[in-house]
C-alpha cells in the first residue's frame, strides 16, 4: 500500500514536471498565440496539482471541506479544458463558415444531449449531481471532439499535427476519466489506488502527445482561410446539387416500387 502511494506520488511529480515542460514548449513555439485557452487550461491544471498537494498535507480541514474544495478545483479545470476544446473546434472548422455554421449547432446539440443524459443518472442528489456533471462534461467533450474529427474527415478539412494531438489527448483523457469513474465508483472500489494511478498515467500519456506536437509546431503549418462564395451563387449551386440528389433518390424509390409491385 505504501509502495503504491509512493508510486502515485512519483507519478504526480512526473505529471507536474511534464506540465512545466509542455508550458515551456508552448511558449517557445508560440503555440500560445494560436491556442491561448489551451495554455490557460494547462496553467489551471498545474495550479490544481499544487493546491491539492497543499490541501492534503495540511490535514487541519474536515473531510467534507477537503472533498468540496477538491471538486471545486476539478470543476474549474474541467471548465478550462472544455474552453480549450471549444477553441480547438473553432480553429479547425471556423475557416469554413458554412460548415462551421452547421457544425456548431450539431456539436452543441451533442454536448447538451450527453450532459443531460448523464445528469439524469444523479436522480436529484446534489453529490451525484456534481460527480455526474463532471463525468457528463468529460463525456460530452470526448463526443464533441470525435464529432468534429468526423466532420473534418467527411468534408476533407485539413487537421494539422498539433490539432490532431490536442484532439487525441483531450479525447483520450476524457474517455478514460469516464471509464475510470464509472467502473471504479460502482464496481471496483477495492482497486482505488490502481485506478487513480491509471488516471494519472492517462494524463501523462496526453501530456507526452501534446509535448511532441508542440515541439514540432510551426505557425506556417496553419492553412490559409478559404474564400467563401456569395450566398446567391452558393444558393443556386447548392439547390442544383440537392435537386440532383433528390432526383437520384426518386429513381431508387421507383426501383423499389417496381420490386414491391412485382412481389
Amino acid at each position: 500500500m505504501v509502495e503504491s502511494l509512493q508510486l502515485q506520488a512519483a507519478a504526480w511529480a512526473l505529471t507536474t514536471a511534464l506540465e512545466l515542460g509542455l508550458f515551456v514548449q508552448l511558449i517557445r513555439h508560440r503555440v500560445n498565440k494560436d491556442y491561448p485557452q489551451f495554455l490557460v487550461y494547462l496553467v489551471s491544471a498545474f495550479f490544481q496539482s499544487l493546491a491539492l498537494a497543499a490541501l492534503y498535507r495540511t490535514g487541519n480541514l474536515d473531510k467534507m471541506t477537503v472533498w468540496k474544495i477538491a471538486w471545486l478545483t476539478q470543476g474549474l479545470v474541467v471548465t478550462m479544458r472544455a474552453l480549450a476544446m471549444v477553441e480547438l473546434n473553432r480553429r479547425v472548422l471556423s475557416r469554413y463558415i458554412g460548415i462551421w455554421a452547421l457544425a456548431r449547432r450539431l456539436l452543441l446539440g451533442v454536448a447538451v444531449a450527453v450532459i443531460a443524459y448523464d445528469l439524469l443518472l444523479s436522480k436529484g442528489q446534489w453529490q451525484w449531481l456534481i460527480l455526474n456533471g463532471v463525468r457528463g462534461l468529460e463525456l460530452a467533450m470526448a463526443a464533441v471532439i470525435v464529432t468534429m474529427l468526423l466532420f473534418a474527415r467527411y468534408y476533407r478539412v485539413p487537421v494539422n499535427l498539433l490539432q490532431r494531438a490536442l484532439a487525441v489527448g483531450l479525447c483520450l483523457y476524457s474517455t478514460f476519466y469516464v471509464i475510470n469513474y464509472s467502473i471504479f465508483e460502482r464496481v471496483l472500489r477495492q482497486y482505488a489506488v490502481l485506478w487513480n494511478f491509471l488516471g494519472i498515467f492517462a494524463f501523462i500519456a496526453s501530456l507526452l502527445v501534446w509535448i511532441n506536437a508542440a515541439n514540432r509546431y510551426a505557425e506556417s503549418t496553419e492553412v490559409a482561410p478559404l474564400p467563401a462564395i456569395s450566398p446567391e451563387l452558393y444558393g443556386k449551386l447548392s439547390s442544383e446539387v440537392n435537386a440532383r440528389l433528390l432526383l437520384l433518390n426518386r429513381q431508387l424509390i421507383q426501383f423499389l416500387h417496381v420490386q414491391e409491385r412485382g412481389q
Binding site: 463558415i97 458554412g98 471532439i145 462564395i229 451563387l233 420490386q259
Partner: protein, 190 residues
Amino acid sequence: MTLPVLLLLLFALLLIALLAWALRPSAEQSQPALDVFEALRRSRHASRISHVMQALQPADTEYLRETSQVALMQTLRRQRRRIALDYLNHLQKEFEMLLEVSRVLAVMSPEALGMEEMERWKLSLTFATNCAFLRWKLRLGLQPFSGFNLLSNMATDIGRQLDAATTRIAEVAVRSSEHPGIGDAKIDGR
C-alpha cells in the same frame, strides 16, 4: 452496474473506436481541381431509367412462356437484372460525384446557407440506404411487375426535371462567367 451506466461505458468505448477511425488517413483522394459546373453538366445515368424500366417489364419476356421457352425467358430476365444492377452502380457513381461536388461547395459555403448542408446529409443518407436495399433486392431476383405505364410516366417526368435543372445550371455558369465578380463578392469578407 446499472444499464444506463453500462450504456455510458459502451458509448465511451465507441468514441475511442470512432476517434481511431476518424484519424485514419483517408483512402479517397479529394479532387482539388473539381469544377462544380463541369461536374454538374456531366452526362446523367438517371435520365436512362425508362429504358432500364422497360427492360425489367415482365411483358417484354412473357411471350416466351407462351411459346414454351421458359428457360430462355429466365435467362433473359437474369441478364436484364444484371443490367439493372450495372445501372444501379452507375447511379451510385453519379451520387458519389454529387457528394464530391457538395463537399467542394460546402468548403466555400457562406454562413447564411450553411443549413443546406443538413438537407444534403439527409438526402445522402436516404440514397445510401435505398441503394443498399435495392442492390440486395436485385441480387435476390426480380419478379414480374405491373403498373409500368405509371412508372414510365414518372421517369419521363424526372427526365424533364433534370433537363430543367441542367438549363438552370448552364444559366448560372454563363452569368458567372459574364459577371466574374458575382462569386467573389464574399471573398475576404469573413
